[in-house]
Symmetry: C2
Subunit: 201 residues, 2 copies
């Protein structure tokens, strides 16, 4: 009655454990919030001892860092796809951004919480975040290619703020309580996109 796993120490199984730990954590984050994640609970859900997660992730922050990294990678992928879609690139990207956040609530909730994942100490996570930031610069470039080189940052920041604000308000904020219950979120995002004009004079 020592253990349930049939092939415990193979590399294949270890990936399973790693994945199970992350999935367990993501599930808790999405349903109960990041605070509710405990090393022992994710270990329990993964069917391993309370110390197994430490082997892969070092500490609690390590789990969040891994989730953050994965989130930024997937985000970059999806955002790049939206960048290449025909039509209004700003609206397409805003939609993609918010869709990602809503669909990957667990990831998104962690991605911008540097307080819990100690991003500065996890190089891979930082690199993934940088990569994501580059796609944002590409969007700004696509919207307004010949803008002032001396102020290359205002438009990306404005774009990011709008998208990030919308996303966090949808996920965590008290916004949803204020909306009429039959509100279509996709439509609302579209309207916000139509409402916004970037003054590129």
């Amino acid at each position: 009655m020592a253990r349930q796993r049939s092939t415990p120490a193979t590399p294949e199984a270890s990936v399973d454990v790693q994945r199970a730990v992350l999935d367990g954590a993501l599930d808790i984050i999405a349903t109960e919030g990041a605070e509710a994640v405990s090393m022992r609970e994710v270990a329990r859900r993964a069917g391993v001892s309370h110390q197994a997660p430490y082997h892969y992730f070092g500490d609690r922050a390590g789990i969040f860092a891994a989730i953050s990294e994965e989130g930024f990678r997937r985000f970059t992928e999806e955002f790049r796809r939206a960048l290449e879609l025909p039509g209004d690139v700003a609206a397409n990207c805003l939609r993609a951004y918010v869709s990602f956040a809503v669909a990957h609530k667990g990831h998104y909730r962690v991605m911008f919480r540097s307080d819990i994942c100690g991003i500065r100490t996890h190089e891979q996570t930082m690199k993934a975040a940088d990569e994501a930031f580059l796609t944002l610069l590409d969007l700004a470039e696509a919207i307004h290619p010949q803008r002032d080189a001396a102020d290359a940052i205002s438009l990306p920041v404005a774009l990011w703020a709008q998208a990030h604000g919308l996303a966090t308000l949808f996920i965590d904020g008290p916004l949803l309580d204020k909306l009429p219950p039959d509100t279509n979120l996709d439509e609302l995002v579209n309207k916000v996109a139509q409402l916004t004009e970037w003054n590129t004079k």
Copy 2:
């Protein structure tokens, strides 16, 4: 050597304890993040037993709810002042919004974290949040008074998203790491305000 407080059971002293608990919590939130708040640590900082905070706030979420409520009240006050300033009302309010968030980091970090303060169970906090939301509607009205009654929500949402996004990126996000180190944040907010035009056709 039973206790240090000279007048323990007077109402005046009780306000002190309440305030000390909140201030201790706010200090921790602003410097280390909300996760780092522990009932016992705030009690220790306030110089009371580990159960005293429970008397006033019920549980951990109660402390966050009280902070959130206080935050929304102060926010409403400051935002209303900005609404009545002469000049570009949208720019004034965006500045006021971001200033509030940066100056009251501890409060702001909690105000939009319904996961940790269980806002739905704290009526006073909800009311304060509603009040704040109303000021936002007033801003939308000031920007574009005769807008379509059937879509009264898009512009407030768009405004809120921009301000909230900017604020959270400044406070918690990885944005600051991406900016040139000599960036003036006030100026950046101004530029974003100038860059934005609300398509009110």
